[in-house]
Every structure is written in structure tokens, then in C-alpha cells.
Amino acid sequence: MIARLWHGNTLPVLIVVAAILVFWYAMAVHMNSPWQERMNARAELENVPFTEFASQTWAQAKPLLPAPHQILGEVWKATIEEEITSRRSLAYHSWITLSATLLGFAFGTLLGIGLAVAIIHNEASDRSLMPWIIASQTVPILAIAPMVVVGLGAVGVTGMVPKALISMYLSFFPVVVGMVKGLRSPEQIQLDLMATYNANDWQIFTKLRWPSAIPFLFASMRVGIAISLIGAVVGELSNAAGGGLGVRLLTGSYNGQTIQIWAALLLAAALAATLVALVGVAEKIVLRRMGVAT
């Protein structure tokens, strides 16, 4: 157990977490103290001992920087203690964001694979599509997202679909790039081998190119699912009525509810980490079934 702690990742990770927490609490005291000093002066409290002053700075209702336990408390309160169907429930908002993320990710992955297949089989589409695909990612998504959400809203398409489209717009890119590389990854000797069998394009694709590209697909999907979540959150910022973690960020900043913002942020980060980890698990399972992972 001790040896495992010493040689594995656990100990280094715990040390880093501890260091971050110490730094965070110290910063909370520092950043929240001006307001606390004014409050104490107004209440005519003098010579407050430092330990008490510190715990005051960690317990404000709208601190500049909430302490970690305040954020965790808010997450607990807003996920476990609220009804899951309530608009005050973070679980409810997380589900809204998650569903748009997953739909957009699925669309984006399919679009990415489709474009990659077109690009590797057709030189004209290689030259005509690739510049546009790259250009699409240089446009700031913060500028496009409101146009998509508001524009589609004007023609009656609201809810999950506009947000999923933004997720798709972001997530197809790593999949195209990864899959073009993956589908082109078979070695010349393997392509020669298929030629000696007089294999047609479809057989070369299904028996050689596609299996070769699978590890590339999973690497792309890991990036794709994380930015899908970002796309969904950005989409939510343009439609405050729709709900989602993005809306919690937005309303939190309108009302100066810093704890609420940080709670939503923490949940979004945890969601992204979980999704990336799930893609990793799927990758392990698929590669093991293919026999290429030991």
C-alpha cells in the first residue's frame, strides 16, 4: 500500500492537490480581506484575531474568491439537496449541457469521419475541402455561437439542436484531421499486399484503412468530446432561458454569485474529465477486442 503510494501517481497527485488548496485558501484570505475589513470596521469590531479573520474571509456570501469548501458545499446543495427537476438543481442544468454535448459530439464525429473518407478517396476534395476546414476553426466561436442560436431561434429551432450544432462545429475538426492521418497510416507494403489480391477500394477501406485508423479516431475523439462541452456551454450563453451550465455561469455573473459561478465551473470541468475518461475506457475495450492492446 505504502509502496504503491510511493511509486504510483497517487502521492504526487495528492501533493499537488494539497499545494493548490493551501495556495487557494491563502489567496481567498488575501482577495476577500479588503471587503471583510470594511465590514468589521462598520460593525466596530476591533483587533479581530487572525484565525477568526481568516475564517470570516472564507465564509462571505459573495466573496471575490470563494474558498474550496464553499464551492463544494454549493455543489452538494445544488445537486443532492435540490429536486432534480428543479431549475435550481445543478444536476438538471448539467443534464441539459450534457445532452447537447453528446448530440453535437456524435454529429461532429460522424461529419469528421465522412469528410476524412471523402478527402482520402478524392484528390479534388482533398484540395478543395481542407483549406475550408482549417479556415472554419479560425473564426472565433464566441462570435458565431450567438448568430447560430438567435438565427435558428428566429425560425423556431430552439433547445438542444442549436447548441449541438455549435458542439459539432468544434468537434468535427480534430476528427477530420486525425482520421485523414489515420486512414492514410497503412504502410506501402500493406497497400501493395492488397494490390496483389486485386482488392477493390471498399475492401481496402474496410479491411485495412479503417482498422488502421481506429487508434487515431480515439485520440481525436478525446479532444473532440472536451471541446464539444465547451461548444454547448458557449451556446447556452446566448439563450438564458434555455438552461444549462452556461446559463448558471451567466446568471451567476449578473448577480455577483461567485460561489454559483465556481460551482458551475467545477461541474463543467468534472463533466469534461469524466467524458474524456469514458472515451479512454472505450478505446481500451475496443483495442483489446481488436487484439492490438496487450
Partner: protein, 260 residues
């Protein structure tokens, strides 16, 4: 005797960035049915290129070549030959059995027929019992045997082998050479075999084609006087050493090592 491969004044020039490189220069050669023909020469002599022209993987720029009376493209479409590459080139996500099945799947054979041919060819290369192993679980020699099984599986009469044992150590190579001769005797296939090892060429072949580089051309064609039945210790006999000597002379006559 039926001619399987017939090349007449075959030439091939590669256009490279440094200008044209002549890989083959007026190579004329016949390979008859049931022969074991080795191509020997230093790097750049065109021996692999010649094999690739037979297989329709390279296009000649001059001369004529026919395989069973057909063009290389027709022969390839007709799956007239099996090709064994320098590396085993097994697909890592397929078991040995599925790798051997690859050409059979592409040809559209029934599952029962596939199974029959897989077990038959794996037995020929002594890999029975390894059907479910993945390539990374096999030694280099076993991988190359699996790739030979794959080339044999669809029963082409012509086997093209491009330095198949080049990456293996001497002991494994001797063993596989003996196995290959057995296989050749059993199946009566025509084999074209590229190598840069003189003992290997002499031990295996009924006919040895000595080539020299810049440009790639044939300097000598030796019909081996050795019997078809060849135990490994035939390599100590005067007849064997005499053929080996003539090969070495042929290589020297081509000035093949003069500038290396």
C-alpha cells in the same frame, strides 16, 4: 516445358528528383513451370524491381513481359501469383488464422472453404496450433511463415518471394530454407526468389540469375547441376561450392562491389 514468366528486353526507368534512374536495362529471361529461380545481386541491381514488375506493382518503361501468356495486370486481376514481402506485413489486429483468411475473404470464398484452406496451409508451414495467436505473439520466423501461408492460401501456381528471410538470423533461415524446399517439392509451384545471400541462392534454386547494378541487368544465368532432393549438408559438397564460386564470379564480373 511451359513458360510461366517471359521477359524480353525489359527496361524500367524511375523518374526521380535527381533525374532518371535506370532500374532495369534490357532484361530477357524465361521462368519455366516448376522451376525455383533465384535472383541475386547487390542492392540497386533491380532484382526486387523485376519481381515487382511481374506482380504489376511497377510498370516497365520498355520491352515486353507476360505471365502465363497474360499481361502482369491481367495476371494480378486473375490472382495468378502469391507475393511474399521482405517484412511479414501481417495485419496486427488479425489473428494468424484471420491473416491467412485475408486474401480468401477478398476473393469471396465461402467460410467453409476458407477454413479448409487455412488449416491446410498452416499445416504446410508448421503453424498448426497457432491459429488464434496475434502477430506480436509470434517470433520473426513464425511471422514470416504465416505470411508464406497467406501467399499459399489462394493456391496460385506462381510464388514471388522478395528476400523473405532477409531479416532473420542464420539458424532460423537455414531451417526455413529447408522447409521451403519441402514445400516446393510438395506443391510443385513455380518460385521466383530474391536474395542477396549466395549460399541461400545456391541451396534453393534450380536456376540462379546473377544481376548487377547501375543499370540493373543480368550478368549470368546458371542452371544448377544439384539434384532436386537437397539435404542441408549438400552445402559442403564440391558441386555446391562450384556453383557458389560461379555465382561469386558472376557478381564480380558485374563489378557489383567495385565502387562500394
Amino acid at each position: 516445358m511451359t513458360t510461366v514468366v517471359s521477359a524480353k528486353e525489359l527496361s524500367l526507368t524511375f523518374e526521380t528528383n535527381d533525374g532518371p534512374v535506370q532500374a532495369l536495362s534490357e532484361v530477357s529471361l524465361d521462368i519455366n513451370k516448376g522451376e525455383f529461380v533465384s535472383f541475386i545481386g547487390p542492392s540497386g541491381c533491380g532484382k526486387t524491381t523485376f519481381l515487382r514488375v511481374i506482380a504489376d506493382l511497377e510498370q516497365p518503361t520498355g520491352g515486353a513481359i507476360s505471365i502465363n501468356g497474360k499481361t502482369p495486370a491481367e495476371a494480378r486481376q486473375n490472382r495468378d501469383y502469391g507475393y511474399v514481402f521482405q517484412a511479414a506485413a501481417l495485419l496486427p489486429w488479425r489473428t494468424v488464422e484471420r491473416n491467412v483468411a485475408l486474401p480468401l475473404e477478398i476473393m469471396g470464398l465461402s467460410t467453409a472453404e476458407q477454413q479448409h484452406r487455412i488449416s491446410r496451409t498452416l499445416e504446410m508451414v508448421n503453424l498448426t496450433g497457432f491459429e488464434q495467436k496475434y502477430p506480436w505473439q509470434l517470433s520473426g520466423g513464425m511471422q514470416q511463415r504465416a505470411s508464406i501461408a497467406r501467399a499459399l492460401a489462394f493456391d496460385a501456381d506462381l510464388l514471388l518471394m522478395d528476400e523473405p528471410f532477409g531479416a532473420l538470423d542464420e539458424i532460423v533461415r537455414d531451417h526455413l530454407n529447408a522447409q521451403l524446399l519441402e514445400l516446393w517439392a510438395k506443391t510443385e509451384k513455380t518460385i521466383a526468389f530474391v536474395t542477396h545471400s549466395i549460399p541461400e541462392a545456391v541451396y534453393l534454386s534450380t536456376k540462379i540469375v546473377v544481376m548487377s547494378p547501375r543499370p540493373g541487368r543480368v550478368t549470368d544465368i546458371i542452371d544448377s547441376p544439384l539434384p532436386r532432393e537437397r539435404p542441408l549438408d549438400i552445402r559442403e559438397t564440391p558441386e555446391f561450392l562450384e556453383v557458389a564460386h560461379r555465382v561469386r564470379e558472376g557478381l564480380r564480373a558485374g563489378h557489383s562491389y567495385a565502387d562500394e
